[in-house]
């Protein structure tokens, strides 16, 4: 050792320096502006360009929005009111509000039904979306399909009630037989439910006559507007979940035939645009159904969109399954659980949890894609705008207002869902690190 430190009396700090506030350049707005807007020349230029862009956008859009006319019966009346000034004619939205939301055929006295159904949807979806809510609320979720169906389509209340009871019957049969084997349980459940429905099928008409609780029936064809987008979105996503799970499991199966069936199905569906599948629904599907069966267009479209969504969901879930460590499968095996048990109790609960953000993304994409049904002349939100509204003499020529309204509506829904999925991803992330 050199002698520099030979004597080396330990240097010991005796007192603690209290933390002092950072220098002015390091705090507050000054620092923020310097760091975020003017940290370099290039940055300053970009800031100015950005401000310029915002300014121009504002100068161009604000008067148009602020001058907007909210009360008029036609575009020409709007123009009269504006009297040459630049301004939007939002009156079209006010006047066609109901049509935009519900289509032009849903009976106007019944608008409360889809509205209520929508509110209930939010309520019953929340226990699924937020795992902090009490689990008992899941009962609501389970009941919702029947309530929602009844509210939107109407008809005798006994139809959804017995449908629900049938499912309950199936569930009990499943619970009874499940102990023997999952397959038995499944078959038993299907048989029990089918039997129940078959038997009650005879009772319903009489019952409906004796205890007539019913809402006016609204045929599928009369659904339209944003409501149709929402219906297609929710129905197809919910239906595609179980199918997607089956496909994903199939694709990971060891059995080559089953694996290839699933691979071909998934790749085929993912390889073609949704539009062509809608064409299939529109013009081809009927050829493949038994002669004389008369599926209406909405049903056919739901079938095709569900197939479409399930292929995408299958891929998401496959990712979730692949993310599970192999040890989980082995541990389940070594405990003696059989395949259905291992999947149901161990693998799927975990895989699905990992997949939720992906599933939500698919759901958002699918919800946006429901607008494509306007191409096969269904009157969803976009179809309403392109068809009856723009075609009407009164509103011929209002583009911006209507499309911005539609875009805004979709934006609100999709943005919130994707924010939710990001929130969930963060949530899961921390959950992992725990």
């Amino acid at each position: 050792m050199s002698d520099t430190h030979a004597q080396s009396v330990g240097y010991v700090q005796r007192s603690q320096i209290p933390p002092s506030p950072p220098p002015a350049t390091e705090a507050g707005a000054v620092r923020w502006v310097r760091e975020n807007l003017f940290s370099s020349t290039a940055n300053a230029i970009m800031t100015l360009l950005g401000l310029l862009a915002i300014y121009h956008l504002a100068v161009w859009a604000l008067p148009w929005i602020l001058n907007g006319v909210w009360n008029a019966d036609s575009l020409s009346e709007c123009r009269e009111i504006l009297d040459g000034a630049r301004g939007a004619c939002f009156a079209v939205i006010a006047e066609r509000w109901n049509q935009l939301l519900f289509g032009f055929k849903y009976p106007s006295t019944e608008y409360w039904r889809p509205t209520l159904a929508f509110v209930l949807l939010l309520v019953s979806a929340s226990p699924v979306l937020f795992s902090k809510l009490p689990r008992q609320l899941l009962v609501l979720t389970a009941l919702y399909p029947f309530v929602g169906f009844w509210l939107i389509w109407g008809g005798s209340i006994w139809v959804p009630v017995f449908a629900l009871l049938g499912i309950v019957a199936g569930y009990y049969a499943f619970k009874q037989l499940e102990r023997q084997s999952f397959a038995m349980g499944l078959i038993g459940a299907v048989v029990a439910a089918a039997l129940f429905w078959w038997v009650t099928g005879f009772v319903i008409p009489d019952l409906s006559r004796i205890i007539p609780i019913s809402l006016p029936e609204v045929p599928s064809r009369d659904m339209g507007g944003f409501m149709l987008n929402l219906i297609l979105g929710t129905v197809c996503i919910s239906l595609s979940l179980p199918i997607g799970i089956v496909l994903a499991l199939g694709r990971r199966s060891q059995m080559p035939l089953i694996k290839w069936i699933c691979v071909i199905f998934i790749e085929f569906i993912r390889g073609v645009p949704l539009i062509t599948l809608l064409f299939v629904a529109n013009v081809v599907l009927a050829y493949f159904l038994p002669p004389g069966s008369n599926f209406d267009l909405i049903l056919r479209v739901i079938i095709m969109i569900t197939m479409f969504a399930s292929a995408y969901i299958a891929e998401v879930i496959r990712g979730g399954l692949a993310a599970l460590p192999k040890g989980q499968y082995e541990a389940a095996d070594s405990l003696g659980l059989d395949y259905p048990q291992a999947m149901r109790l161990i693998i799927l609960p975990q895989a699905l949890k990992i997949s939720i953000p992906g599933i939500v993304n698919v759901a958002v994409g699918l919800f946006k894609d429901t607008t494509l049904v306007s191409v096969i002349s269904m009157f969803d939100m976009v179809g309403m705008i392109r068809g009856p509204i723009l075609a009407s003499t009164d509103w011929n020529g209002v583009y911006w207002e209507l499309f911005i309204f539609a875009a805004l509506l979709f934006f609100i829904v999709c943005y919130n869902i994707s924010q939710y999925s990001q929130w969930l991803e963060r949530q899961l992330d921390t959950g992992h690190k725990r």
Partner: protein, 317 residues
């Protein structure tokens, strides 16, 4: 069979266009109105006795045939031209003609065009999936002039594109042009060119292979035409049917004599109901597209044969 289906269902699914003023368009209350719509209502009245027992299914030029073929609709009443290939190849049965038409052009007056032959280099809006699309190609090829087609799905969009100046000319059936022009802010700024470049017999159609149903639709239309010829109107039909008249054909038509209804599988008073609730051909024409309406079409070819037109209902016997 379709007839039984319709009866069982209690409503008639009838394909109409997505909106063509005077022919088929929902009014402010969402009720469908128009000349084509009346045919649907007539059939519904004949079969179900209720002109409102119709579910109108809007179709575009492109989707109409698939809608019919797939069974989504029971009949199509949508200014559809009767052509051989549609009959023989697409396997549909046209049950008659409710409007004799031809393809025309509309163009802004400001362009100063007076004949379709002067349209060299023009941009033309057309509805796709129609005969007009094919006629147009033929017309320009035969006359050896060029054009630029702008394919469009619906009449409404075509109208928007045309009015915005995205095309110089809009071409479709002359009746459609008149109807469309009537909805313009200033119809007088636009001229319909004199050339009519094709024959467009427009009529309702049904699927091949169900002649029974075809007969019902065919004779519902014929009943309207015959009623006009025989002078039966919605105003006097009640009176005429209350007792047998001197004219046996009227009696057969209104079901007070013979069993024509039964032959079709309908009630005896089917035609009476049509005339009472929908009106005869002339009444429907006048109410929807006639000269007193903004569309203002003259009867022309669509007058009764007795008046020099082509309308000629086969005998009710």
């Amino acid at each position: 069979a379709t007839l039984d289906d319709v009866k069982a269902r209690g409503t008639l699914n009838c394909g109409v266009s997505t909106g063509l003023a005077g022919f088929s368009a929902p009014n402010a209350n969402g009720e469908w109105e128009g000349f084509d719509v009346a045919v649907c209502r007539a059939v519904a009245t004949a079969v179900l006795g209720d002109p409102n027992a119709v579910e109108f299914v809007p179709t575009t030029g492109k989707t109409r045939f698939t809608a019919l073929a797939s069974g989504e609709i029971d009949m199509l009443a949508r200014n559809t031209t009767w052509t051989l290939s549609r009959d023989a190849d697409l396997k549909f049965t046209f049950i008659g003609v409710n409007y004799y038409d031809g393809q025309g052009f509309i163009t802004p007056k400001a362009l100063g065009v007076s004949s379709a032959k002067e349209l060299d280099g023009a941009t033309v809006c057309i509805q796709t999936g129609t005969t007009t699309e094919l006629n147009l190609a033929d017309f320009f090829r035969v006359n050896n002039i060029s054009y630029e087609p702008v394919p469009i799905e619906t009449n409404a969009e075509a109208q928007q594109q045309y009015l915005a100046g995205a095309c110089d000319v809009y071409t479709t059936d002359a009746s459609g042009l008149a109807a469309t022009r009537a909805t313009f802010e200033t119809p007088t700024d636009h001229v319909i060119l004199p050339e009519i470049i094709s024959k467009e017999p427009l009529g309702p159609l049904v699927r091949h292979g169900d002649s029974e149903w075809g007969d019902v639709v065919r004779w519902s239309l014929n009943a309207m035409i015959a009623a006009e010829e025989l002078g039966v109107t919605s105003a006097n039909v009640e009176e005429m049917s209350s007792s047998t008249t001197d004219n046996p054909e009227i009696n057969r038509l209104l079901g007070t004599e013979g069993n024509l209804g039964e032959m079709l599988g309908l009630e005896a008073d089917w035609a009476k109901n049509i005339i009472m609730q929908v009106g005869n051909y002339g009444e429907v024409f006048e109410a929807n597209i006639g000269e007193s309406t903004p569309i203002g079409l003259a009867r022309g070819l669509n007058a009764q044969w007795t008046d020099g037109g082509l309308l000629y209902a086969p005998p009710f016997r």
